[in-house]
């Protein structure tokens, strides 16, 4: 039980700190810490496979990409306060809208958190999956009961990948009168 509270506290604390950071690189790192604590919780649930996959996929693969983007965009500080003030002087209605929307979102989250803590806090039901911890069971149910969802998810990821390639691809224009004249430097 102690380890549950330890991992839970780290997960919640790190998640809260993610949004309290000015430097986005620190936010990314705190999110990784939160994922690590989550994976600890999975270990406590007797699901080591899910725990390790959580680290490999989220903390390992996805967050590295996040970190790349954050580092290369070179946005060391998020000056939301100053941005808002600048906006307020120019377009007061829009700034007010942003404030109200943000406030509503925060209030909604708080209500949800309160509901989750009070409603479900009492029941400590048995983990429904029983023996989902074994790799064999997970693989079998993924490729039989959830085969459709599994395949559709992979198509979804493929679409995202194709989209990223299309967005990132730059046409090399070679030809007279368009941009730089043709020469060795325009050849790829």
């Amino acid at each position: 039980m102690t380890s549950f509270y330890l991992f839970g506290a780290v997960a919640v604390g790190a998640s809260l700190l993610v949004i309290a950071q000015r430097n986005p690189v620190y936010s990314v790192l705190l999110l990784i810490a939160s994922f690590g604590a989550l994976s600890g919780l999975y270990v406590l649930l007797d699901a080591p496979f899910v725990a390790v996959i959580q680290i490999i996929v989220y903390a390992g693969a996805i967050m590295v990409l996040f970190l790349f983007v954050v580092m290369l965009l070179n946005a060391p500080h998020e000056d939301t306060e100053q941005d808002l003030e600048r906006m307020a002087s120019r377009r007061p209605a829009a700034a007010g809208g942003v404030r109200i929307f943000g406030g509503a979102l925060a209030a909604g989250l708080l209500v949800e958190l309160w509901w989750a803590l009070t409603k479900n806090g009492g029941e400590s039901g048995v983990f429904p999956g029983g023996a989902v911890s074994s790799v064999r069971t997970i693989g079998r149910s993924l490729f039989t009961d959830y085969a459709f969802a599994f395949e559709v998810t992979s198509v979804l990821i493929l679409v995202a990948m194709v989209g990223a390639v299309v967005l990132a691809r730059r046409e090399v224009v070679t030809g007279l009168g368009r941009g730089r004249p043709p020469g060795p430097r325009t050849l790829k």
Partner: protein, 341 residues
Amino acid sequence: MTPLLIAQIGLTLFVFVMLLSSAAVMVYVERKVAAMLQQRLGPYLVGPKGLLQPLADVIKLMFKEELRPLAADPLLFALAPILSATAAFAAFAVVPFGADTTLFGLLREPLRLQVADVNVAILVIFAIASMGVYGIVLAGWSSNSKYSLIGGLRSSAQMISYELSYGLALAGVLVIANSLSLSDIVNRQSGTWLGFLPRWFLFVQPLGFFIYMTAGIAETNRAPFDFPEAEQELVAGYHTEYSSMSFAMFFLAEYINMVTMSAVATDLFLGGWHGPFLPESLGWIWFLLKVAAILFFYVWMRWTLPRYRYDQLMRFGWKILLPLAVVNLLVTAAGVLYFGA
């Protein structure tokens, strides 16, 4: 405290110390082998045959000044080498390196020569390796230097690209062994075929072994894939701005990663501690010999092959190694379905 628990703690400390000293030994071996390959003498002044050279190096590093660039991010700059070294040490925890032993009858229950017996051991190694990337990326970014940043980016791009082939090469072995636990995989490789050929997975997964070794060299950032620290273009890559012990930690992490990579290769493809002539209880000698052979191969490669160009590395990784790994996995799976495991 039961005797088994004490033995377990002792084993953990033993593995830690052995990893530390393996890095020192590797530094010496690397320099000596390099010298032999280049017809030089190598270190020979400190101690007999220069054997104490690594010790002298460590003492020198300890007494160097710890420098930090003014524009660096202080917290992350300090954290990065710690992350690298921790990940390197942690990965070895799930690697078994010998058969169960009772320590010459001292213990009633047998002790497993593995710090942590996890049933998803291979995935744990994979997960920790992906954490090790952060050490390098953060070192590159927090130093606030262009050489470091480029080195860090290159290294992470390289590690992410080759992790795929690495994982798929492992998957071939997992399909044959039908288990994710490293000790199970090793035990599947005991005995011989036709009385003389050891049942190593190397002989059923030759392509997998080749892919594993190649991707392993790229993962550990060794020559001919040592782009992160290509000294002719990047000074020293991601650890350009590091000095003293924080530099030593990166150095340590690199050598320990090599040892772990070789130990995992031994467990997966070379039958772990199984071998002829020696009884099971002395199997760790076989394990050490096999690991040493792979490490020597690493060093040999480094001083024989020149560095590739970066686009060649990426093309090789994505267009040759990855398709090969996929084909290898498919053929293996089909074979297991057809012939049975």
